[in-house]
């Protein structure tokens, strides 16, 4: 059963990667990265049990905790970019 779940997750990872490669907007790619992160968390939990070493759940826990820092960094990146552009417009006029 773990195998079936892992295979479903792996196929979904491939689908998410396809979305990341196709785009078309940059946000689609960020979405794909975020999806990929959740899928990796689930895959690592499942494989930890598949291997019979549940003490390796620490790894999935790491991803669950810090994976969304990347998305927040993207939000901050776009926000400061739009502020900068607005400032440049004010300076230029």
């Amino acid at each position: 059963m773990y195998y079936i779940v892992s295979i479903a997750i792996l196929i979904t990872m491939a689908l998410a990667l396809t979305r990341a490669l196709l785009g078309p907007s940059v946000y689609d790619r960020v979405l794909a990265v975020n999806m990929f992160g959740t899928k990796t968390t689930l895959l690592l939990s499942v494989i930890a049990f598949l291997y019979g070493r549940p003490d390796f759940l620490d790894l999935a826990l790491t991803y669950a905790l810090i994976n969304f820092i990347g998305v927040l960094a993207v939000l901050e990146f776009f926000q400061s970019r739009s502020i900068r552009r607005a400032n440049n417009r004010v300076d230029g006029s």
Binding site: M1, Y2, I4, V5, I7, A8, I9, I11, T12, M13, A14, L15, A16, T18, R19, G23, P24, S25, V26, Y27, D28, V30, L31, A32, N34, M35, T38, K39, T41, L42, S45, V46, F49, P54, D55, L57, D58, A60, L61, A64, L65, N67, F68, V71, L72, V74, L75, F78, Q79, R81, S82
Partner: protein
Amino acid sequence: MDSAIDVLSWILLALGGGFVFVGGLGALRLPNFYTRMHAASLTDSMASILILVGIMLQAGWSLAAIKLLAILAFLLLTGPTASYALANSALLSGLKPGNSADESTEN
């Protein structure tokens, strides 16, 4: 009793696998960014609940179950937050939600 828990956990895992797959399909096939995000984020949360609870039933009362609970709690907190942040930055830079297929280009 044990076999009942086993059956329940297999059902949850199978459902979770199904949700994961449907979410991936939605993220690939739906026509524009906001619909894709809708598909991905909702199924992400649902599949996380189903799969992690399924494994938790297998683990029984142990440190592993508590860790799984923590993973689930953090995923449920961070997943929707990440979706919010993403939708917000998309909206900020002028990607309009609409029902038409994707017309946006790389920016």
